[in-house]
Amino acid sequence: MSLPRELASGLVDFLANAGAMSRFFLRVLVISPSGLLRPRLIVEQVYNTGALSLVIIMTSGLFVGMVMGLQGHDLLARIGSEESLGIGAALTLLKELGPVVTALLFAGRAGTALASEIGLMRATDQLSAMEIMAVDPMKRVVLPRFLGGVIAMPLLTAIFVAISLYGVQLIGVQYFGIDQGQFWSEMRSAVEIEDVREGLIKGFVFGVACSLIAVYEGYHADPTAEGVGRATTRTVVISAVSTLVLDYIVTAILL
């Protein structure tokens, strides 16, 4: 196949997938109110996607913060502004690094778990069995997992940022000896509520995107071992790219 034809074919596939996912998203939105009647199912999924991701989020957050402390201190020391480490770290983490890294970790841990779980339910006829029992799998399986992910992501983002700031403080204050009072007070004076809001909005947007991609890929997985594997891989890849693209779009809108 010639290159232009391949590109055209790829574009058509992309548009078809985007259209199918948009229709899927609309259906999820339409049935969302029914999910509120079954809060227990959503709470279970907040636990599965959120609480079970806490270890990886907190561990990563701590080390991201400590690396920021080392690199930030090295950079600021060159211009003699080490005490500004707290401001720089807080703004970077709240507005960018926190939501983006959390979304990437979420896609890798919770997203793949969602996609493979739903894909396996498809492969083992569990979704068909629900259909025959007159139970809509979109309401019983897809919706609670989607909403659970959407609720969990901003919470995970907040936890990631808090732990990361602790990591920055550990290096900046405890290791390099920056004054603790100055570190926190400068951070408090520089960080606005809008900065916190931006981070939470991004966490929410990424949560919608990553959860949607995971449940969509799982729900439409080929009912084979290979199909489930492919759905899991696609979940990570599409979520990662979507997160970065959406990050640019949301930043451009909010700035």
Binding site: T124, D125, Q126, A129, E131, I132, M133, A134, D136, R140
Partner: protein, 279 residues
């Protein structure tokens, strides 16, 4: 054995009927003008070589797919005309046993059987418990109520799925390859359950299977499908006497016949000679 003649006058004699049904996937014709009737109260067997559209037929009856042409009528209603809500209402009167059981793997046996009740009926917990244990007792697995699906053997999983299928007291029970992969004891148990549940609950059963010997012992009527059509129908005894070579091959389990043992291929001798010349 049949209970078909006992149906009240107000109910249609047939619980399901397919009239001139065509169904194709891409260019491959799966069902080609299929006509078939399933009598109320009977155990009806659907048999035939692999790929003749048996499972497709079940999916048409349950409304999972729509026929390209023709009518699929279940309990007097054309399935194609139903909207989602009515289709779900119809499905609440059906139970289906999948080949692998299709139990929900994240909940235990009790909750699997209770699942349709919890989804569709707001019953007090003691009543749910009584109903679930009654159905589990009927399939001999009351003692396994707290086990997880991964702890069950293939035969046990099939029986739990059967308990789940009957927990809503359906009018129609559909079995997709209920004997596949079972040991002789489990096979005998499932076989007897199909017949006894059909008679005890006064339901109609549709069984898709390859296991001619087993189903012949319990079926009232059997259909043999081939190339998307009904090749033969009748009681197991009638089918054994059927003049068609294909029916004879199927009933006797012969390796070669109208359904060839070999997949279409070029002449073997010529192929070997060509390979030799090529080398």
């Amino acid at each position: 054995m049949s209970a078909g003649g006992d149906a009240p006058d107000s109910l249609p004699v047939n619980i399901a009927a397919l009239h001139g049904v065509h169904y194709a996937v891409d260019d491959k014709v799966v069902l080609d003008g299929l006509d078939l009737e399933i009598r109320r109260g009977d155990v009806t067997a659907i048999m035939g070589p692999s790929g003749t559209g048996k499972t497709t037929l079940l999916r048409l009856i349950t409304g999972q797919i729509q026929a390209d042409a023709g009518q699929v009528v279940v309990d007097g209603v054309n399935v194609a005309t139903l909207n989602r809500r009515d289709l779900y209402a119809l499905r609440r009167r059906m139970g289906m046993l999948f080949q692998n059981g299709a139990l929900l793997t994240d909940i235990d046996v009790f909750e699997n059987v209770a699942f349709p009740l919890r989804e569709h009926a707001r019953l007090p917990e003691p009543l749910v418990r009584t109903l679930v244990l009654t159905k589990l007792h009927a399939v001999g697995l009351r003692g396994a109520a707290q086990l997880m699906p991964r702890q069950l053997s293939g035969g046990m999983a099939r029986r739990v799925a059967l308990a789940r299928a009957i927990v809503m007291d359906p009018d129609i029970l559909i079995y997709d390859e209920p004997f596949a992969g079972l040991d002789p004891i489990s096979m005998g148990v499932v076989m007897r359950l199909i017949r006894s549940l059909n008679d005890a609950l006064g339901i109609s059963s549709i069984v898709v299977t390859h296991d001619v010997q087993e189903i012949s012992q319990i079926a009232d009527v059997s259909y043999i499908l081939s190339e998307g059509k009904v090749m033969a129908s009748g009681s197991p005894a009638e089918l054994r006497e059927h003049p068609s070579p294909l029916v004879h091959q199927f009933m006797e389990g012969l390796a070669d016949g109208p359904v060839p043992f070999h997949y279409p291929a070029p002449d073997y001798r010529q192929q070997l000679l060509l390979q030799r010349e090529g080398a």
